[in-house]
């Protein structure tokens, strides 16, 4: 049984020239269990991406610690956490796949080579990894673009390659940082459905960042709402709109449900309340 636990984590970025140190995250506690699809929602600057970087192992917490299974996650460069927990320490690894806000494709490889790159790193033989990459490229609608150069694709297509690449690698946990933000509405909906299908079939842990309330409510099993300065989790909701969506396959129907609308109002009120408070600072 896999479980990601975040214990009292704070992240303080050192002072920039002539500025004060920035507290990006303050006292965050969160547990992500097998099969959880956790969506983080909040205004920009509330520490969503910092939280993702922590889970991915790209950065280390200033205080507190994170565990995945029996190992402690720590980023590089190593900062002394001052705690000795877990059997081993792990940095970023193939168990946690990442999709960035802006794709990070490798321009010297074509689309299919990018998609299979993770499997190639792990030494999977060519025929096998090609087949797997082709499957996922087909799922994201790019089956006709295998040999295209990545810089010849539109922004939305590049993002889809990034998603196919993460899925091809089959990680235990998917970390997605506003992966659909740059896509048109139609592609966005079909990829939301794709990600839900993958989640439903594989029971992966997912951590999904967005600033779209609709997207958050539609996807999440657990929704965490974050607030800025310092970044922290203010509210947490258990949701089941994604189950309803997987049953009826009609996003508009789910979104027209009075329960959905009421929930949306509630969440919007929280976020706007934050903004109001900030304005009075």
């Amino acid at each position: 049984m896999n479980r990601l636990q975040i214990h009292d984590v704070s992240v303080v970025y050192p002072a920039a020239q002539g500025g004060a140190p920035v507290t990006a995250l303050s006292d965050v506690n969160l547990t992500i269990n097998q099969g959880d699809l956790v969506v983080a929602l909040g205004a920009s600057g509330c520490g969503k991406t910092t939280l993702l970087n922590l889970i991915a192992g790209f950065i280390s917490p200033s205080e507190g610690y994170l565990t995945l299974g029996d190992s402690t996650i720590e980023g590089y460069p190593r900062v002394t956490v001052g705690l000795d927990i877990g059997d081993e320490v792990t940095g970023p690894g193939a168990d946690r796949g990442v999709v960035f806000q802006k794709h990070a494709l490798l321009p010297w490889l074509n689309v299919v080579e990018n998609t299979e790159f993770g499997l190639k790193l792990q030494g999977v033989d060519k025929e096998k990894r090609r087949a797997r990459a082709a499957d996922f490229l087909k799922l994201v609608g790019l089956e006709d673009f295998h040999t295209h150069k990545t810089y010849q694709l539109s922004g939305g297509m590049q993002q889809r390659v990034g998603i196919a690449r993460a899925l091809t690698n089959d990680p235990q946990m998917l970390l997605l940082d506003e992966p659909l933000g740059a896509l048109d509405a139609l592609t966005r909906e079909s990829l939301q459905e794709l990600l839900l299908d993958v989640w439903n079939e594989t029971n992966k842990m997912m951590f999904f960042i967005t600033h779209s309330v609709d997207e958050a409510l539609l996807l999440a099993t657990r929704l965490i709402v974050m607030s800025p300065r310092p970044g922290r989790i203010t509210h947490e909701f258990e949701l089941d709109f994604n189950r309803r969506f997987l049953e009826c396959r009609d996003a508009r129907k789910v979104k027209a449900d009075p329960e959905f609308i009421a929930m949306k109002e509630k969440v919007l009120e929280i976020i706007h309340g934050d903004e109001g408070a900030t304005a009075h600072d």
Binding site: G93, F100, L121, Q122, K149
Partner: protein, 296 residues
């Protein structure tokens, strides 16, 4: 007002000579062709203009020398220079044919270039990736980089003698620093997201260095190699000033002592043509290996 303006435009067109019309066509601004954007700095093709410029320079050179306006001692005519190049291949100058001079110089340049690439590129990557290596080599390279090679030439000769090895060493040192520094700049230009994604797909540090950082640094590595060859030619003449018996730099210097100006110009032209050819080759390699340069 508009009437007279358009009138004068049409009359000037009627009266213009073929040369004026040719120049007007050559220099006219054209609309951005499909595939490029309005506002791209320096958009458009300049090759024809370049060819016309070269032809003009040669024409003026031929005219002023053949008409006797400048004495051959100061500037021989291009026809004489071409004839002299033929002679140089046949009879040679100061004890060796042109082919032998060229072979000696090219051997030094490309021998040093090869050594500088196989040591400089790995060193630049190591300096960019590893703080211990950076700590060791940074002060050394930063100290000697701004020194003109002529300043440490005497020391190289004291250490290595006046034979071939000191010349190779001098050119090698001149080429090493631009290659190392460009490679290192290339390493730091690799996007952190690309490195992070590789780690998140299970790459180990060695795979990140070999498959992400080295590939991502390639555009800058190629630029460094181009700069290095330029430095190499500069240093070659200095190296061949010292007790060389062959080499184009030596040939030019020797010719200038005897005021054989056409050999001097022939040597300069040959160095220029070889260097230009190599630069073309590097540009071709750049288009072949880093077509994504500047596109991401």
């Amino acid at each position: 007002m508009t009437d007279s303006a358009s009138n004068s435009a049409s009359t000037s067109k009627k009266n213009s000579t073929p040369l004026a019309r040719f120049l007007a066509r050559l220099l006219k601004q054209k609309a951005a062709p499909s595939g490029s954007f309005y506002g791209e700095p320096g958009a458009g093709d300049s090759r024809l203009i370049a060819v016309v410029t070269v032809v003009c320079i040669i024409a003026v050179w031929t005219f002023v020398t053949e008409a006797g306006l400048i004495k051959p001692l100061f500037l021989p005519s291009p026809l004489d220079v071409i004839a002299r190049i033929g002679d140089l291949f046949q009879d040679g100058f100061s004890g060796a044919t042109l082919t032998q001079h060229m072979a000696a110089s090219l051997g030094r340049i490309f021998g040093s270039f090869f050594l500088a690439c196989i040591t400089g590129i790995p060193l630049g990557i190591a300096i960019g990736c590893n703080r211990v290596v950076r700590g060791i080599f940074d002060p050394v390279i930063e100290f000697y980089r701004p020194l003109p090679p002529l300043a440490y030439l005497p020391l190289v000769i004291i250490w290595m003698g006046i034979d071939e090895s000191s010349k190779i060493m001098l050119i090698y040192l001149a080429m090493l620093s631009p290659i190392v520094i460009s490679t290192r700049a290339g390493v730091s230009s690799v996007r952190i997201e690309q490195i992070q994604v590789a780690y998140s797909m299970g790459a180990n540090s060695w795979q990140v260095v070999s498959q992400i950082i080295t590939r991502g640094a390639l555009p800058d590595i190629l630029t460094g190699m181009r700069i290095a060859i330029g430095f190499g030619w500069t240093t070659l003449v200095a190296a061949e000033m010292v007790a060389a018996e062959r080499g184009i730099g030596f040939m030019v210097l020797n010719a200038s002592e005897f005021l054989v100006t056409d050999v001097v110009i022939a040597g300069i032209l040959i160095i220029g043509i070889i260097a230009f050819g190599f630069d073309m080759l590097m540009r071709f390699l750049e288009e072949k290996f880093v077509p994504w340069k500047g596109k991401n």
